[in-house]
Subunit: 437 residues, 2 copies
């Protein structure tokens, strides 16, 4: 039984010319892979009807299913529905239910419906409308040269919901879908090549499971992709490889399958009834934003301070001006004073942690001793009895402003995780004890 | 004279299976388009040598240049250099200069070089090494079936620098490169279909310039893509269309060609010698992070407070507990009190602005009157003479937690921009005056 194949087609000049990054293909590829379908290709075409028609026909010839995203919007440069009708050799009809849905959607937002939105109710003859619970553009399900063609909006949120409700059930039941299991292990605080060397004995080409690594914002992901004649077999292979990897990487692994470092930290703090505050300089709120991004973060996260100016470090965090003068804003002494200062201020009735960052994000402001990319990070803990512990470290990265801030934010979260878990860090970390007066 | 063509090939299981989003193709597509090259395709292949070989050969047949990203790393799943050598029918040799560069790079970070990194010095016979100023993996420039093949690392920062230094000069000089000009106009505070209707008379298929729209995080981008027999002609066509669009959209446009809203706001505040602080709840530092992301933000940005818990809103921002009780944390009264409260505290010697946000980011916490996606935004200005002005508005969006926070952050920055520029907002905005006691 042949493994069914799927081809991903992204439509839009904004993608072809690179104004917009295509995030849909990655998401769809992962979904289809997990459903046991084989991805035969990703392709991007612009808003030119003949090119969309040609791409649709090529895709339909190469795969059992084609997933098209984009080009269903209300503006004149949205041409997917016309192209599909042409490729099918049929005309477009206005679908009354689709029109009713679009009108209802505008009512929900109580906005008047622009006349332009009416075209979104057009569907090729013989095709079905796919309901869009989250937007105005309905999707289209058609058959082209024996291939199932799903047309969905380019807006990721609308596309994802539509995929789950309409495409997934169709793809899931398909005969011949392989038994494949994917597993991702996430780490922070070690380099990718370092990790690659540590597990190279598991990374042979065409091994089962296939093992690969990727890195983003200081987080390394080790990927297992296991195949088997049955799901149980695939899971067994994945489990064995995960066990082998955990033997080597152990406590460096903070989460699996997309779990975020912030999500992990929020969970650990919740379990311990501890609370968290942040005192940021160069990361400028990015750290607190990562934490607040976790649903339910309010259970542990109290407040964050971005003390960008030195004056603010003193006024909001009680950093002594002498410390700033003597050691500079980017120093172990200052970052420790920031973390301890905020803990000294807040009236905490229970164990509380503070993460602090201060560094040189660039492009200017670097010096030989403190080049651009130098970030000092502190994690301080204040126990209910007034005992304080501060762990501080220096992190260096060669990157642009945003990446330096992103890597520092994740490294800070990892320092907090290791402090809570009492795990060793791979960086030299200095510990100091203090008391709340 | 045929317009030269380029094919973009992204290598990596992490891309094919969708673990990582391919941002390189978008960036490269834009660069090549601006150099007058025609993009014939984007394609993604996994870490399987025969598939990379086949894709390289197909790409070399279809285009004058092939830009390959990824698969040059130190781990065993990096297979681009082997695949290229095979496609060329040659062997791999260790390039001594490449090896020296890799060793020097590790010295720079003073880390020991993992033995694994040695493979990064391998280059196909007859190919040239491309220097990598920002990482360990050198690039490769080869010729395959008459097509120029550039292999570059997948790490965006390394790839971009390498492209600018090595590929761009080669592509730039090419005969037949079309004369094309791209222009992007960025807006916030209006819906995409609304804007599409307003300029639909300019959006005909195959018109010159071609005009399209795209939206991300509440920012709508109108794209002009103009062709001409000469560069001057293309620029003339783009300029005319831009003028027509500005006639219709006027003050809604905040920037062009990738300028960010935060960057625009920082510039406006600098020009006026004004300073900025932020008081965030649901955006949780995302707003201050967008501002700090602007190089030189320190000239205007003083401090940011994320008052996530109600208690913090009172303690850090002086929001009266009665206000929180009577109107709730998500209300015009609370968001105004947050903005004014922070301005009342900070000793500002000159005009200062405060942006405040409070809302329901979900997934829980919604109610019929305040559904998930409801965010109250305030922009308050305190003049040197103690006169205060607060402008507040409600923003609703149907999206996930991160998108709700991102849209609210951009909408807040746009409210600040319109307040500084004294421009009308498309949202109902309420104004109130206050005095610093």
């Amino acid at each position: 039984m042949e493994q069914p194949t799927v081809y991903l087609l992204s439509c839009g000049d904004e993608l072809l010319f690179g104004h917009t990054v295509d995030t849909n293909s990655a998401w769809l590829a992962e979904q289809c892979t997990l459903l046991g379908w084989r991805i035969v290709g990703h392709r991007t075409v612009g808003d030119v009807t003949p090119e969309i028609i040609a791409a649709l026909i090529e895709a339909a010839n190469r795969a059992d299913a084609v997933i098209v995203t984009g080009g269903l919007g209300p503006t004149l440069d949205d041409r997917t529905r016309q192209a599909l009708a042409h490729a099918m050799g049929v005309g477009l009809r206005e679908d009354p239910e689709a029109l009713a849905e679009i009108q209802a959607m505008f009512k929900r937002f109580n906005r008047p419906m622009a006349e332009a939105n009416r075209v979104q109710a057009l569907i090729p003859d013989g095709a079905e409308r796919i309901v869009n619970p989250n937007g105005t553009a309905p999707g289209i399900l058609a058959t082209l040269q024996g291939a199932k063609v799903f047309c969905m909006p380019g807006v990721p949120r609308e596309m994802r919901e539509m995929f789950k409700q309409s495409a997934l059930p169709v793809l899931k039941g398909t005969e011949g879908a392989a038994h494949e299991v994917m597993r991702r292990l996430h780490l922070c605080g070690r380099g990718e090549s370092d990790i690659g060397s540590a597990i190279r004995h598991l990374m042979g080409e065409r091994s089962n499971p296939e093992v690969g690594t990727a890195v983003a914002e200081a987080i390394v992901t080790v990927r297992l992709y296991a195949k088997g004649d049955s799901r149980a077999e695939a899971e067994k292979a994945a489990h064995k490889a995960e066990t082998d990897i955990r033997k080597v990487l152990g406590n460096d692994i903070f989460g699996v399958d997309g779990e975020t470092l912030a999500g992990n930290v929020v969970k650990l703090l919740k379990e311990r009834g501890a609370s968290l505050v942040t005192a940021e300089s160069c990361t400028g709120g990015m750290l607190s934003s990562l934490i607040v991004d976790v649903p339910g973060a309010s259970a542990v996260f109290r407040q964050g301070v971005t003390a960008y100016a030195n004056q603010a470090k003193t006024a909001l965090l009680g950093v002594p001006p002498e410390t700033l003068e003597k050691y500079g804003a980017v120093s172990r002494e200052t970052v420790s004073a920031m973390a301890e200062g905020l803990l000294r201020r807040g009236g905490f009735d229970r164990q509380a942690y503070c993460l602090a960052t201060t560094g040189v994000a660039g492009p200017d402001g670097g010096s030989p001793e403190k080049p651009v990319g130098t970030v000092w990070i502190a994690c301080s803990r204040l126990d209910a009895n007034g005992e304080g512990l501060t762990r501080s470290m220096r992190h260096n990265s060669v990157a642009d402003r945003r990446a330096i801030r992103g890597r520092a934010s994740n490294t800070a979260l990892d320092l907090l995780r290791r402090t809570i878990m009492r795990h060793q860090s791979n960086y030299p970390v200095e510990e100091s004890h203090w008391k709340r007066d």
